[in-house]
């Protein structure tokens, strides 16, 4: 049924429909609405689940690690400082091979306190072993959360479903909320590959000496390496039931493009408009939207970009001392290709600053007019007087 709901609640609805059994929650703007709705569903019986109102995000993740180890479906959600506080447990959850799904709302890290969107919080967790899926709008967030459980349970890795602060989390949009029966058809009851069991005692997450540690890490990577293929396969099934699909990445008007703009999250919607306008002016420009950041779809990306002349990567994130994080990853995906485009990196929209269609047009023309990329990312819209 089509409903007008917030992006946050699109994720809550998906967790409900996924028949999650244990939810741990701790408030942080702009994530809070996700867990508030879920606590209500647990209370009023719309969900047969236990909601644990923990005392910190570190504990939220520890709590779902405990619950998931018993072989039940779990969920939590967080943002920014909450995610940073969880960092230790993110490693723990992934190497425990637990299919936990977490909603993550991209919000800037302080100081200064800033509740607005910025991807640095989740990208700073890229090495923890979590699958990361960035969503453009509320419908995609709902669909991706349902899909995330299938994916997580097939590869035994946790999945972060990521939306932008406010632009998605607090924006009301028409969203098709599927029927329980449809979701059940796509997402069957969870059958864990292992669970703690007093009838079959063993130790989980115990000491791992050098003779075995590397193999354990390698096995996480092997699961990552199958993830994109499995994701594509379950998207086929998802499409059969729901009629929608997204891909690990999406190319828009790229076939004859000379310049491709790489985007992620809600800025992609703005970029679609900018590209429509640029196309009307005769500019040969396309978009590559990255949804799956971990595992990084390097081969698909290289195939999509290697023929084009120039790529402009728009990063709403930054790694101090290096550059935009998507830019780095894209450059490394391309560096061994015989034929590869020049990669221009742009930093825009940090801490919730608007990225408008004009921002994209400026980025496009800057890329078009430059003969070669600068080594460093270029910061868009910086007021030099304030520096």
């Amino acid at each position: 049924m089509k409903q007008v709901i917030e992006g946050s609640h699109a994720i809550s609805e998906a967790a409900r429909l996924a028949r999650v059994k244990v939810i741990a929650g701790y408030p942080i703007t702009p994530q809070t609405h996700i867990i508030e709705a879920l606590s209500e569903y647990c209370e009023d019986g719309r969900m047969d689940a236990k909601f644990i109102p923990v005392e910190s995000e570190h504990s939220a993740m520890a709590s779902v690690v405990g619950a998931a180890s018993t072989g039940v479906r779990t969920f939590t959600a967080t943002s920014s400082h909450g995610l940073a506080l969880m960092h230790e447990l993110l490693h723990w959850a992934a190497a425990s091979r637990l299919p936990i799904v977490m909603g993550e709302v991209n919000r800037a890290m302080g100081p200064g306190w800033n509740i607005w969107t910025d991807q640095t919080d989740s990208l700073a967790q890229r090495d923890t072993g979590w699958i990361q899926l960035y969503c453009e709008d509320a419908q995609e967030a709902l669909d991706t959360t349902i899909l995330a459980y299938r994916l997580a349970e097939l590869v035994n890795l946790p999945v972060m479903v990521i939306i932008d602060a406010f632009f998605v989390s607090h924006t009301y949009e028409p969203v098709i909320v599927p029927e329980q029966s449809e979701v059940d058809r796509f997402l069957p009851a969870y059958k864990p590959k292992f669970e703690i069991d007093t009838n079959n005692p063993f130790a989980l997450n115990q000491m791992a000496p050098p003779a075995i540690y590397m193999e354990m890490r390698r096995s996480v990577q092997l699961a990552m390496e199958k993830t994109l293929e499995i994701y594509n396969r379950i998207e086929d099934e998802f499409e059969d039931v729901f009629g929608r699909r997204y891909g690990g990445m999406e190319t828009i008007r790229c076939d004859d493009a000379d310049i491709i703009i790489v985007t992620s999250g809600s800025a992609t919607s703005t970029c679609r408009l900018a590209v429509d306008e640029l196309r009307k002016q005769g500019e040969k420009v396309g978009i590559l939207k990255i949804k799956m950041f971990r595992p990084f779809p390097a081969a698909d990306l290289a195939a999509a970009l290697s023929d084009v002349q120039k790529v402009a990567v728009v990063d709403r994130n930054f790694s101090f001392g290096a550059g935009g994080i998507f830019t780095q990853e894209i450059k490394s995906a391309l560096c061994n290709c015989a034929k590869r485009p020049d990669v221009f990196g742009y930093i825009a929209g940090l801490g919730g600053r608007d990225i408008t269609t004009d921002t994209f047009k400026d980025i496009y023309f800057s890329t078009k007019n430059m003969t070669a990329p600068k080594i460093d990312s270029q910061w868009v819209g910086i007021n030099e007087e304030l520096l």
Binding site: S56, F202, M207
Partner: protein
């Protein structure tokens, strides 16, 4: 004739990695005898994370979920929630942490879990320092102790945190102290805690560490007994945060306990006097709480 409530069945294998005389090992062996096979242990970073053995072996015959240092209580609460949703209400979930994982880095999650009255037993095996990492002070380390981070004349000048008061202040159904030198009492308390299923139960177990305390391993139980005989570690129970029962009354001077341990060797007469005064005052306070 021997009257004992201690089961013959053991859930700890001989091939574990504890040091000779490890009080934590004795505590676990006794605790599991009381709790039985339908027990899941959650162990954070601490000596026991090592004692239990490396992958793929295990030194215990019950399942263990190892978790991060700060998160014993809340991980156990998550396990409990998962079991409840699966309809398993029989299994006892036990968080088993050292004093660091209880008094220090673990106190937030323990306090949160206790305030939510999560249905777990939280056990602190207290060896009064961070032993796993080589005897650094914790907030459980008593006044007067030399550790690797309170060395030389910098021996610890502040007192051991009163964890039982903190737990009692959470008004949890059951909190008790226990001691490896009093096995019948210890087992009884674990059995009682198990039977009081439904809320957070806290057991504070005195657990000697010969390696960290500078004592011969064969003194492990003797020194533990002296801790209670001197009222330095009295045995008592608190129900619902206010209903105190005292199980033992010691009558020996603190010096009997202090003088035979390397970690207190440097203390002068005035320091020992100070400690005796503190012990007496604390014990009086405890008697007042017991009320009879």
């Amino acid at each position: 004739m021997l009257h004992s409530n201690i089961a013959d069945q053991t859930y700890m294998t001989p091939g574990n990695m504890s040091c000779p005389g490890c009080g934590g090992g004795i505590a676990m062996n006794l605790a599991l005898k009381a709790l039985g096979e339908k027990t899941i242990l959650v162990i954070p970073a601490c000596c026991w994370a090592i004692i239990a053995g490396p992958y793929p072996q295990s030194g215990l015959k019950v399942p263990i979920l190892h978790t991060v240092f700060a998160s014993a209580a809340v991980t156990a609460g998550g396990v409990r929630a998962g079991l409840d949703m699966k309809g398993d209400t029989e299994t006892t979930v036990v968080a088993w942490a050292g004093d660091g994982g209880t008094f220090d880095i673990g106190i937030q999650s323990l306090s949160g879990s206790a305030e939510r009255n999560e249905d777990i037993i939280f056990v602190c095996y207290d060896n009064e320092a961070y032993m796993n990492t080589g005897v650094q002070r914790s907030s459980s380390t008593p006044y007067g102790t030399k550790t690797t981070t309170t060395p030389g004349t910098g021996w610890k000048k502040t007192r051991k945190k009163n964890m039982m008061d903190i737990m009692a202040a959470h008004r949890i159904p059951y909190a008790a102290t226990a001691n490896i030198a009093y096995p019948d009492d210890l087992v009884k308390k674990f059995q009682k805690a198990k039977a009081m299923k439904g809320g957070t139960r806290f057991i504070h177990v005195y657990a000697t560490c010969p390696t960290g305390w500078g004592i011969p391993s064969e003194y492990s139980v003797k020194i533990a007994r002296l801790a209670t005989q001197t009222n330095i570690f009295p045995l008592f129970e608190v129900e619902n945060g206010t209903d105190y029962t005292l199980n033992t009354k010691g009558n020996r001077p603190a010096e009997d306990y202090l003088n035979i341990q390397g970690r207190f060797k440097h203390l002068a007469g005035k320091d020992l006097k100070q400690i005796q005064e503190d012990v007496d005052r604390d014990f009086e306070l405890l008697i007042k709480k017991v009320g009879h």
